[in-house]
């Protein structure tokens, strides 16, 4: 942990009774209800909560900034003796970037695509008149080296799109350090990254923050991550403070229910489904090779079997080909070689040639419930369409079935049947997607990252719902995910994919017990744990193994 943690330093930032309002439908609603926050020099404060908690809004308010459509409506923000609410725009502008810096969630989006990294690095120092361009560039290279970016001399002269996500996030951390600020706000800096990459970034952030004794506000929804980074943690919910404590104390001894729930979020485990006894698996992917446009091979000789009533998780990082596998199975991407068999019968390669029944048997649930539902259709039509399309139900029968389905997904038909998707929360939308899939009465449901766009608690509810439906209806799942916690929670069998190939597959127990394939090992070891020392230990362990001359796989993102 940071050596100078604790409450000894001088107060750098102090918020008292901070209130922030957000605009919706021409009305201002309060979204942060009087938060107090104190941050001392060199201290790292973790802000944690689910979406809507206001953590990001509060974090950014520490720079005296409110996003368009938001306004700071009450309370005080004092940074190093300066009242930010009373400060002029020009004063605030001078503060930002030089004394308080910001690291955004998605570096790929937050870097300007039109300029080279190093130009963006040196912009703030030059504009604030802190350094000259040449000087800043020299320092940038130093920082790049320190953050272990490959080829630090030259990487700055690349454009953002030429650099991978993990590297960009480190480059952004470097950029935030450019003026040697007193405070950096990290806004979910690793959320968009793969787990193996996340390690590198976390290590890098930790390193520089300690090196320069910079205070930081670290915002995340992931308690395990914040445990690695923060001296102190504030748990937020709906714009209110739930609990605030020293990091170790909070993990060891959470006081509030909500904190306990967050701590328990990764502990759900399903019971293993009975093995499929029939000789023919429900779905078989046989030696499939596929490519986009005939050039880049994205699936290379992949074979997967899915037994009836079982849940098979396909796990891999971005670019592993796991989603392409789903596209091949559904017939959106005809494979160049190999076949997809359903119930022993080979399916036509493209969905256009499949019969209505073949289509009905395999349904799909998508990652983003926002785009998976037509925003202009009411719930009745969304669920009702497959009911009438596949099963031919009309009128009262159809209505009855829609209501049954809504009850199945634990949503009150009377309340929701006439709503539009825009009037639902993310979790509710995903439930509707499940209902739509169920409406076809399928045998197989392909779940493509169905929980990754959702908050952890909501995601867990969805997993439990899916499990219950499997228990009730005996439906089979093919679960595509990057999240090992999800795999652990819901799978019977696991398929690990890397760069279009299957690295390892087998029963859940087999996969999660050593010895592993090196990649599986890397994947498993990279999942953060609720142990504040986990990251330090992991890095020490990897360094030790390297020192012993073992081959250590560190990230797939280099």
């Amino acid at each position: 942990m940071t050596s100078n943690g604790g409450n000894n330093g001088e107060v750098l930032l102090e918020m008292r009774g901070l209130r922030i309002e957000g605009q919706s439908e021409d009305q201002w609603n309060e979204i942060v209800h009087g938060i107090d926050l104190t941050l001392r020099r060199g201290e790292v404060l973790g802000l944690i909560g689910e979406s809507g908690a206001g953590k990001s809004t509060i974090g950014i308010a520490s720079m005296g900034f409110a996003r368009p459509g938001c306004r700071i409506s009450g309370g005080s923000i004092v940074f190093d003796g300066m009242d930010l609410r009373a400060a002029s725009d020009e004063q605030l502008r001078k503060l930002r970037g030089s004394r308080i810096a910001y690291v955004a969630q998605s570096a790929a989006a937050a870097f300007n695509p039109a300029h080279k990294l190093i130009d963006q690095y040196s912009e703030a120092p030059v504009q604030h008149g802190v350094k000259r361009k040449g000087e800043a560039e020299k320092e940038a290279m130093e920082l790049y080296r320190r953050l272990r970016l490959p080829d630090p001399e030259n990487i700055g002269f690349r454009y953002p799109h030429q650099v991978s996500g993990g590297q960009l996030q480190r480059a952004m951390t470097a950029m935030a350090m450019a003026c040697r600020p007193d405070l950096i706000v990290f806004d979910e800096p690793t959320t968009a990254l793969d787990v193996t990459t996340q390690i590198e970034v976390l290590a890098a952030i930790k390193d520089v923050v300690e090196e320069f004794n910079t205070a930081a506000i670290y915002i995340t929804h992931d308690l395990a991550v914040v445990a690695q980074m923060a001296d102190r943690i504030m748990v937020l919910r709906y714009g209110d403070l739930v609990e605030e404590d020293n990091a170790r104390d909070m993990l060891a001894n959470p006081k509030e229910d909500y904190t306990r729930q967050l701590l328990a979020v990764r502990t759900y485990r399903k019971e293993e489904a009975p093995p499929d006894e029939s000789p023919v698996p429900l779905l078989e992917v046989r030696n499939v090779t596929a490519s986009y446009g005939g050039r880049v091979i994205v699936l290379d000789d992949v074979s997967v079997k899915v037994g009836r009533g079982r849940t098979v998780a396909v796990v891999g990082e971005s670019g592993s080909g796991k989603s392409t596998l789903a596209r091949v199975i559904t017939g959106l991407l005809p494979p160049s070689e190999g076949a997809v068999l359903f119930d022993g019968e080979e399916l036509p390669a493209t969905y256009k040639k499949r019969s209505r029944d073949q289509l009905r048997h395999a349904q799909m649930i998508y990652q983003m419930p926002d785009t998976a539902l037509n925003p202009r259709q009411r719930i009745r039509d969304i669920i009702g369409r497959p009911v009438s399309f596949y099963l031919g139900l009309k009128g009262a029968d159809r209505e009855k079935r829609i209501r049954e389905l809504l009850e199945m997904i634990e949503m009150d038909p009377d309340e929701f049947i006439d709503r539009l998707p825009g009037e639902l929360s993310g979790g509710q939308k995903q439930r509707i997607c499940i209902a739509r899939a169920l409406a076809a009465e399928p045998e197989l449901i392909i779940c493509d990252e169905v929980t990754s766009a959702l908050d952890q608690l909501v995601a867990e509810e969805i997993l439990k719902l899916l499990q219950r439906l499997q228990d009730d209806l005996g439906v089979t799942y093919l679960f595509i995910t990057h999240d090992l916690a999800t795999v652990r929670a819901i799978s019977d069998e696991v398929v690990v994919m890397l760069e279009g190939r299957v690295v390892e597959q087998g029963g859940k127990a087999d996969i999660f017990t050593p010895p592993h394939d090196p990649y599986t090992d890397l994947l498993l070891s990279s999942v953060p744990e609720m142990d504040p020392d986990w990251l330090d230990n992991l890095l020490a362990d990897r360094a030790a193994r390297k020192a012993r001359g073992e081959k250590v796989m560190e990230t797939s993102d280099q």
Binding site: T371, R376, Y390
Partner: protein
């Protein structure tokens, strides 16, 4: 009703102005014959009479009542421009949506065809065709609609291109839905806002285009009152500071300004220039 009232209250003054203008024009167009003191092409006085009693806005170059002509002009010009725009959207919209939904060679073929058509200046093309076919209202409507539909096609295609890749469309495809369903139920409702806005803009364009054609002598048949040719008929007066030709031109401009204001507001409302959270 209350909702509409709320919407109106939130509208900026320019949009309110635009709405008022459009409403007034529509009313005048519908109830024109009841409002006018004289017949559409009835010669009621001597030419170029001054404003005053009997002829509120004076008379035109043939001694027809200017106000009457203006009111009938609203009927004819707006009606023709409206029908033309509708037709253009029907052609261009359907083909554009078809192109994206079908994809592949159909998209290519239509795209190329539109490219070729667009490569020929629209005014020249109109001139060529109208000369072959002669100028009658149905022909005028058809020709302008076909030419204009290329622009609609482009827009419909690019808008639906963004929609067709969304998961709910994929879901509909995987369900086995036909092309027609996908176009009308999945894509069209979501493509409406930009298309509606474009409708306003294209309407203005058609409106101005007809007046340009009239200016070049290929307009609407006389004695039908048409603002475009009314401007042309009286344009020389401008040189002498007489504002008579300003009236129909002003009528054209006022309506296009009104429509543009409303479209502007509409675009602003629907373009999602609002907060992410």
């Amino acid at each position: 009703m209350a909702q509409i009232w709320k919407l109106l209250k939130s509208a900026p003054p320019t949009a309110l102005f635009g709405l008022a203008v459009i409403a007034a024009y529509i009313l005048v167009a519908i109830f024109g014959p009841l409002l006018t003191p004289y017949g559409e092409s009835e010669i009621v006085g001597s030419q170029f009479e001054l404003w005053g009693e009997g002829f509120v806005l004076g008379t035109d170059n043939l001694g027809r009542d200017m106000l009457t002509r203006l009111i009938y002009g609203a009927r004819n010009t707006i009606g023709i421009a409206f029908v033309t725009t509708c037709l253009a959207f029907l052609i261009g919209g359907v083909l554009g949506l078809l192109a994206t939904t079908l994809g592949g060679w159909a998209d290519q073929l239509l795209g190329r065809l539109v490219d070729v058509l667009m490569a020929i200046p629209i005014l020249i093309f109109a001139l060529l065709i109208l000369t072959i076919t002669g100028t009658s209202v149905p022909v005028l409507i058809l020709v302008i609609a076909v030419l204009d539909s290329t622009r609609v096609f482009r827009l419909a295609r690019s808008v639906s291109m963004n929609i067709v890749v969304l998961d709910f469309v994929e879901a509909a495809r995987l369900r086995g839905e036909g092309t027609w369903w996908i176009i009308t139920r999945e894509i069209l409702p979501n493509a409406m806002p930009p298309l509606v806005a474009e409708f306003g803009l294209r309407f203005c364009f058609v409106f101005l285009f007809i007046s340009a054609l009239s200016f070049l002598g290929l307009g609407i048949q006389p004695p039908t009152a048409d603002w475009g040719s009314m401007v042309r008929d009286n344009a020389t007066l401008i040189t002498y500071g007489d504002i008579t030709p300003l009236l129909p031109a002003g009528a054209i401009a006022l309506l296009t300004v009104g429509v543009n204001f409303v479209v502007d507001w509409f675009l602003h409302k629907t373009s999602g220039i609002r907060d992410d959270k």
